[in-house]
Symmetry: C2
Subunit: 193 residues, 2 copies
């Protein structure tokens, strides 16, 4: 997630565009979630941006007059797919060689490992080198466990990640990537029905 | 969820207290979620309040200067318990005789039935007549299907709902109510491990 503080000053003209760098991928994923919802494939929503409210003008239709962005301690999207809990974050990476780990907060890592421990599906959707991947939380944790590097080389993401199809009709079909990445979990649920 | 617009004018002195009527139950449930998180029993978070941002002051540490409360289309809390997707809303009811259905928005009802259809656990925690209940989404939908009443009589909630223990050490043990209400689902997961 990219916060307003990190936005380059030249972008400040566009007032609404407060998360400029992450926006395109977010829109693509929101569209995919809407598509899955319409087709009754999965129920996944982006969580609202966490905000701390300081001042509200009740006399003026409860308009918020002062508030600030809070750092998220969970991932951006969650929901249910094939009876399974699913949670993920969308990450656009502009470096062609490596994915900086500072993109993921410590609280988010703790949360991610908890979700996996409790039997949930937890991953990143990474957009890098004009490709899209489902990158499993398990692979992220394993990488961080085995190295002190502060970024993940693209090769690792390209090898471990599950590439996603992107086309203009259905958009980004990340659920197919989830099917590939979590074959055992998904098949288990399918056999149950 | 109680919105600022519905707050009685006599409460307007307390600026921070913008969701006055729902606050106590919300705090009790947040405490319970923290307890379950610490004990590694369940991973459940309250979703951030949905807010539409109109104006941000980037020069002043990205402070939000103008925003408004949005109507939620999902329920307030979600997470994972025993490998299952879980979602619920907290509702305080001040009437002793019946629970007004206007407390639940149409979008929330659609969402609730989707979650159930996809195999998730979806319910309300109702505080009424100094008692706390897990009231299953299935029972809510059945009631609404069979009647045109605009409120649920307390007797129905007391009969169908699963009463919750509340004490000062562990707070509100709503997970025990979930265990009772969803015995088959929970046992299924337990047997798996």
């Amino acid at each position: 997630m990219n916060y307003p503080g990190s936005i380059n000053k030249t972008y400040k003209k566009t007032v609404i565009n407060y998360k400029n760098r992450g926006m395109d991928l977010e829109e693509i994923i929101n569209d995919a979630c809407n598509y899955y919802l319409e087709k009754d494939i999965a129920v996944i929503y982006k969580k609202p941006t966490p905000i701390g409210i300081v001042q509200v003008d009740y006399a003026n239709n409860a308009q918020i007059k002062k508030a600030y962005f809070k750092e998220p301690s969970t991932l951006d999207y969650n929901g249910i797919y094939q009876g399974k809990y699913i949670e993920f974050d969308a990450k656009e990476c502009h470096s062609k060689t490596s994915f900086p780990l500072k993109n993921i907060h410590d609280h988010q890592l703790v949360h991610l490992s908890r979700i996996i421990k409790h039997g949930g599906i937890c991953f990143l959707i990474i957009n890098m080198n004009e490709k899209y991947y489902v990158f499993k939380g398990e692979d992220l944790l394993e990488f961080m466990h085995n190295t002190t590097r502060k970024s993940i080389p693209f090769d690792y993401i390209d090898t471990k990640g599950f590439p996603l199809n992107y086309n203009y009709t259905t958009g980004l079909d990340f659920i197919e990537g989830v099917n590939q990445a979590y074959k055992e979990l998904i098949n288990f649920e399918k056999n149950k029905n």
